[in-house]
Amino acid sequence: MTWWRRLLRQQALERELDAELRDHIDREIADRVRAGESEADVRRQMRLTSGGLDQVKEICRDVRRPPALADLAADVRFAWRILARNGWATVGAILTLALAMGVANTTFISTYATLWRDFPFERPDRIAIMRTVDARGREAGLSYPDFEDWRRDARVFDGPSAAFAIGGISLGRDGAAPEQFEGLYVSADTFSVLRVKPALGRDFTAADDRPGAEAVAIISSNIWKSRYAASRDVLGRKVSVNGAIPARIVGVMPDGIRFIDFTDVWMPLAQMPGLAAQRRDTRPLMMIGRLPDDADLDRVRAELTPIAANLAVAHPDTNKDIRPLVNTLLEAYNSGGEMKLANATFYMPLLAAAFVLLIAAANLANLLLARAAYRSREIAIRLAIGATEWRIVRGLLIESLLLASVAWVLAVGFSWLALTIAASHAAPQLPYWRIKMDARLLTTLAAIALVTTGLFGLAPAIYASRRATANGLKEGGRLSTPPKVRRWTHALLVAQFAVTLALLNGAGLTARRFFNLYALDRNVQTSDAVTTVIRLPARTYATRNQRVAFHEQLKARLLSVPGVTASAVATAVPFSPAGRRQLTSIDGRPTTDPPPDVTTVVVEPSYFQTVVRGLVLGDSFSELHGTPGHEAAIVNQRFAEVYLGAGNPVGRHLEIRPPTAQRTYLREADGPAPPVSVAIIGVSPNIRQNRDDPVPMVYLPFRAEAPAAVSLIVRGSGGLRPIVADVRDAVNAIDPDLALGVVRTLDEIRDRSRSFTADMASQFATIGGLALVFSGVGLYSAMAYAVKRRTQEIAVRMALGAQATQVRWLFLKTGAWVITAGVILGVPAALVVGRVLQKTFVQTAARDTVTLIVTVALLATVALVASIVPARRATRLEPTAALRIE
């Protein structure tokens, strides 16, 4: 029955009831008048005896209505009135809970989105991805020869298995300007393993993936739209790839398919440079295969392990101790591999958010407990005049439910707002990263809200029903708080204080860490600088001399452009991942076995004026360095500290070996370079490279090897946009088919590299700030409530001559006690949080005395103010007025 029909029916019933009762009265009057009485007398008598029509009606209504429902409506109204009467306290409790839940929800959703990304493929949890791991636990891909052996011998998969390798792919002039893209070389069956079909054109065939086959490419819908204006005649178009081979575009992928990461161009694996001659210890491939319904990853592992063992026997020099690493695609993306380390960091804000939720719950608990004491008299009265216990419990539950549901609705609103703002601001930095509300999470939050409010909301009922009714009535007269309730309140306040202390300290540590990054970043001149990547194709720039010549020509052209003040090339710009090489010996003495990896950047001499702010010691490279007989290196301060000890680093000798063949699937390998013996000619300041803390670094002169792929850094005045155009013109004037890579300013790269720490710091600051406000509010309301409750007592004391300071101390005592106990418990908790942060975030100090002292001082001040304000109010009371207040 709809509500209005119910209403109409209700009205009809009312009318009938009225008519029936009037009929009765009229009949009685008529009868008695007939018997000789006067009508007025009869009416008066009837009013006296029957007790009024309304009362009769009310009893009749009660008969009609199902009693439980009638009471429920009354209870909801009553609960609403009670909550509304305590306006501010209720608003405070609801807002606290809502904010805390909102923060928890938002934090969880963004963490979840980062940790658990979903693929737009059919059953990504049934796609196995295979890599290798060596004896030292280092992960790498597979070499092409290994892949061929694995593919031939592994029979576990449902359908074919496939492999792919990451490589930048640039498209040359074809109406559009040459451009570099993230590319993937895929074996012919890759897309059928993924179960993805091109939206336009065709998939690769086995014929495409043969050595010597015509080069073909599939493009993403992304560049189909941006580069080719979504035109259908893109199919069959020829475009030069990587400055050399003309490839035919045969397909366009559907929207959203950019496997893997942000790939825009796919080519057959056979087109991958150097594939045919690939050694077994060059491992750029990853292999995928579909799991059949009855097989799990262990079956795959069981099948691949003996295959790998056989290869280790057959090729001991390259495959010794190489074991298969098997995950599902989902796992590999979301928790396996490189993400593993980061995971612990992701959980920190989550934990912090959970603690804020706890603080909010404690506030609510305190509010409800305080009210429990206050309301025990009301409850005792209601019990005394015949309310059942169930009725009272139900009433309190309804109150809690109201609190919880309002808070929940607000929390959902808050987090929706926060996520909308966050989503509109940040471009996705991770592939397949989507932020969305999660029904399970909202349900969990509702449960948390219900449990919190329900648990503490019921306290009054439990408390009241435990005491004899008469007792409750007696005590109610004085509104005292029973010691048990007071103990709970104080315990909750202390716990709140301690948790807040730990959270604030954590926030302080992350913030300090963030500002430390700033300090280190002053060693790099980021302003007015654009960077891009230049990849010289091996076919046209086969020799070192050709590459050196290109860059000399480019530099001359760039420096002749008005406004351009400097240019430099390096294999990696600051704040970004750089290659590593093995440091085999220092001054002729071998280092450890295996030799340590040191971060190595190959730079032009001008790098130390254009990018890094000068040298700490010694000189920069000259144009001579890097030519035979002039092998030189510059190390950073960190390198000198770690490997060279005391003494002047300049003049010491190092031997450096090319990068290990491992890990090469993450980035393209630098070209093979012979081991070099170099003399240190200078020491550079530390900058951030690879990691957020300084790592030992070696800079080598560009001229020695002239790597094919380098970053170009150009500084100039007069706006960045014209400079980018100038750079493109200069590059294409030398080589019209050469594409620039992604163009970014150095500022942008620096900010991106800070974003993780910045996010972390801001998350912690938000959470720590909320915790501070919540515990301040919690303490304040508890104190204010205590003052209100003891108004009469204070008045009596004041009337009897107590000093204001004495009265104030009465309340400050509680505040002081909470602060002391809170510090005693909170400092160790803060140290634990600091330790966890240190473990996840390298270089945060686990115990930072300044941060800790500032935190304690801040928190203690807030707590003191929160207790002084109500205490002062107590002493300002006019005794006569106070005595009259109940």
């Binding site: 009938e16 029936e20 009765h24 005896t49 029957s50």
Partner: protein, 113 residues
């Protein structure tokens, strides 16, 4: 006027069912009939009668229609439902059993009054 006696709990329902069993009847007439038959011992005020009637109607023992009575007045007439008839039978029997039992207890053993 003779003493009014309080009705034992629950007996009003039984009496009402008994009266209504005689045919469709409105509230005022029920009160009159009860008073008449009991020789003024049972006087049911509005405040007891109508809640009882509505309760019985709600429980499905009585059903009611609005009809124009002999005097040309619109009144609500109550009738027994089959369920009410069954209930009346059961309650009347149980009442009789109970009163016989009480009689037995109140009478001096084997003697006459």
């Amino acid at each position: 006027m003779p003493d009014k006696s309080d009705l034992p709990q629950g007996t009003l329902d039984l009496l009402i069912l008994q009266v209504v069993a005689g045919g469709a009847i409105h509230g005022y007439a029920i009160a009159q009939r009860l008073q008449l038959i009991s020789r003024d011992v049972v006087q049911v005020p509005q405040g007891s009668l109508y809640p009882a009637l509505h309760r019985l109607e709600n429980r499905g023992l009585l059903t009611a229609d609005w009809k124009t009575s002999d005097t040309g007045r619109e009144s609500k007439f109550y009738r027994l439902t089959p369920k009410g008839r069954k209930q009346l039978k059961a309650e009347a029997a149980s009442w009789l059993r109970l009163t016989e039992a009480i009689d037995l207890i109140l009478k001096p053993a084997g003697g006459s009054r």
